[in-house]
Symmetry: C2
Subunit: 395 residues, 2 copies
């Protein structure tokens, strides 16, 4: 193959003068001439099958760009804008947005506003305009159980001393009751109840447990009894082990009775659970479940507050009308199981409602190879945004 | 530092002509000039503090060498040997002794004998001659639980689908009852009962639970109720998780709802438990404990049979007298919690009793850096072996 030692090729014109290039793609792919691990790479965006493919194409360059384009279009068409607009662009979300909170505090007078419009969430289904009005919060803990002060031979010591993996497993097994509810004391004390209206809204959304299970290749779904799948993901708090490790974890067999075992356990929280209070209750609970024969260390790795917006606010209503107009369908209202901690910061610091007008799809591979964004969503997103400016300016 | 590009230095004489070498060892060690990862290393043996230090000094070069030296001494002193001796030397124990069983079968006429003497175990305490007459067997299984067909985002899916780590933890938590007994059906069905004589023997052995716990830095010991610590290690079967892994196991937090979680679970077995039968019962039990929402894979990695020799055999009696004479103390009889699968092979193929006259100590660091063997045990071991030849020749 020809050497392309710089971006866009040897002549920076994206053109290869090479001869004898394959005209069709062999079924097993072309012959691999060489491979090398060159670390992470960056490529230019590509448009194919009505989608734009690039790192960040969806999350969140593509989604946020719609608002610039709508402002541009509005200005070109009318020579003015229907309301005063302030953009906040931040590039640190994936590394914890550690500077944003202070910025919002420092500049809260400058950023004063009536509503916060964010496009960083997903549509419920392709073509269905979606406003997300609630996000779960997060509490991420790490639990380390220590038995003996060193790894032991399970033959010479097995049966005489507590095994930290077995003990950690017992603790984890007690974090849910038989109905799938979390057993941490006071965990559900402040959980906001699902309103009748929300429950009905959710029921109207097209969701098939059967397809969902099939897509994940499981025989049946599982979770807290008494709630539908969407309710369990969107409005109910959960507890999951995100990772566990201890002892011998390589291939084969080693008869070690390990000194330590560690679990990463996170909770998705819903309004009005307080992650900091729950962290304390969690730690107390874990310590109460552990036997005297082991030592317990509980670490709070990070947390984020849950959020939910009232469905009858002016901004959310305007966004709903705008999205319906752009997509030609009725807007649906969803909550999301994930967390966007900065949304809470924006709302608290700027004392304004946040509207999440999402344009992504679950299938867009965000954070993964082949991330993409549908051009249709990009275009209708621009129109949604323009309609929103118009609608919200009338309130 | 001078270059030593070959074994024993540039002149192969173990002598360094280098000048200006430190005369005393600085408290924080000498300055490190460079480091390099050079892979595993091998050094010559060193004698210091009455111990010989080298890889295999104890396990099992040092221990087995005592018998060659006793035969040599006997022959030098008397010009003859009191009985016919056959040595079997095998170097594959640490990689599973896969050729030994066939060798024992093939050569069973050549190897015909009245007793099998093995030195590959430990003394109960320094200076206390010890015959080990029982070893636990082993069954090593691996359990893999699969939930969804891929790793999921715990925000988007948490609460909707079974989490394989949580489910694996539940399964592990059910493998022991509240008395610390293993819950696998029929697990204890064939377990040989502890005789009154053995129980009394064990009670007479100096063992302090308090010191044992202190040495391992645990607040209290733990295990099956109704049995002493030595009984739990030597004559009771156990089940331990040797390793567990699943999900995100690096530093920090990642909110993955993993597809898989795996545990390595081994059982130490006692006479007359059959590892192969128990493997089947184990698999059935695990499958019964798992919910429908996950897939279960159970793999049998390897196993070894337990063994116990009668205390009133001629060989064991002769070994007891011999060891008492050599060490000047009463011989104690112990069992060991670990497994030496080849002992069972020797006994079965050659139809002769095995006597385990061990000379190691728990503190000898076998399989670890700084493995060593006490010269006193080496010398008294040679004398024990010589006395054994004499005593056993009289039976």
């Amino acid at each position: 193959a020809q050497d392309w030692p710089q971006f866009l090729g040897p002549n920076r014109n994206s053109t290869s003068p090479q001869k004898g290039i394959l005209r069709s793609w062999p079924e097993t792919g072309p012959e691999i001439l060489w491979t090398a691990n060159i670390g992470p790479g960056y490529g230019g965006p590509v448009i194919k099958d009505g989608k734009i493919w690039a790192r960040g194409a969806n999350d969140d360059k593509g989604q946020s760009f719609t608002h610039f384009k709508s402002v541009e279009a509005f200005y070109k068409a009318t020579g003015t804008l229907p309301l005063n607009i302030k953009f906040v662009i931040e590039g640190e979300e994936e590394i914890g947005s550690s500077n944003l909170t202070k910025f919002l505090s420092d500049k809260k007078d400058l950023l004063k506003c009536d509503a916060i419009l964010i496009s960083d969430t997903n549509m419920f289904q392709p073509g269905v305009p979606t406003i997300t009005y609630g996000l779960r919060g997060l509490l991420y803990m790490e639990v380390e159980i220590t038995g003996p002060n060193r790894d032991l031979h399970s033959g010479s010591f097995g049966g005489a001393v507590a095994n930290p993996i077995n003990e950690l497993a017992k603790i984890i097994s007690k974090l849910h009751d038989k109905n799938g509810m979390v057993t941490i004391p006071n965990f559900y004390k402040h959980v906001m109840k699902l309103s009748k209206k929300e429950r009905e809204n959710f029921k109207r959304l097209k969701h098939s447990d059967k397809n969902f299970a099939k897509e994940l290749d499981v025989k049946e779904l599982q979770g807290e009894k008494g709630f539908s799948t969407l309710e369990r993901i969107w409005v109910r708090p959960t507890l999951d082990c995100n990772g566990i490790f201890g002892g011998f974890t390589e291939k084969g067999a080693k008869t070690v009775l390990p000194s330590k075992a560690t679990a990463k356990i996170s909770m998705r929280l819903v309004p009005n659970q307080d992650p900091q209070k729950i962290a304390k209750d969690f730690e107390k609970h874990i310590r109460a479940l552990a036997p005297k024969s082991v030592k317990v260390d509980v670490r709070n790795l990070h947390y984020g507050y849950p959020v939910v917006a009232p469905l009858d606010g002016d901004a959310i209503k305007a966004a709903s009308v705008a999205a319906s107009k752009a997509f030609g369908k009725k807007t649906v209202f969803t909550r999301e199981g994930g967390s966007i901690p900065v949304v809470v910061d924006f709302m608290k610091k700027l004392k304004a409602p946040a509207v999440l007008m999402g344009l992504g799809l679950d299938s867009d591979n965000i954070h993964s190879p082949n991330e993409h964004f549908r051009l249709e969503n990009f275009e209708k997103g621009i129109i949604s945004s323009a309609y929103f400016l118009d609608e919200f300016s009338k309130t």
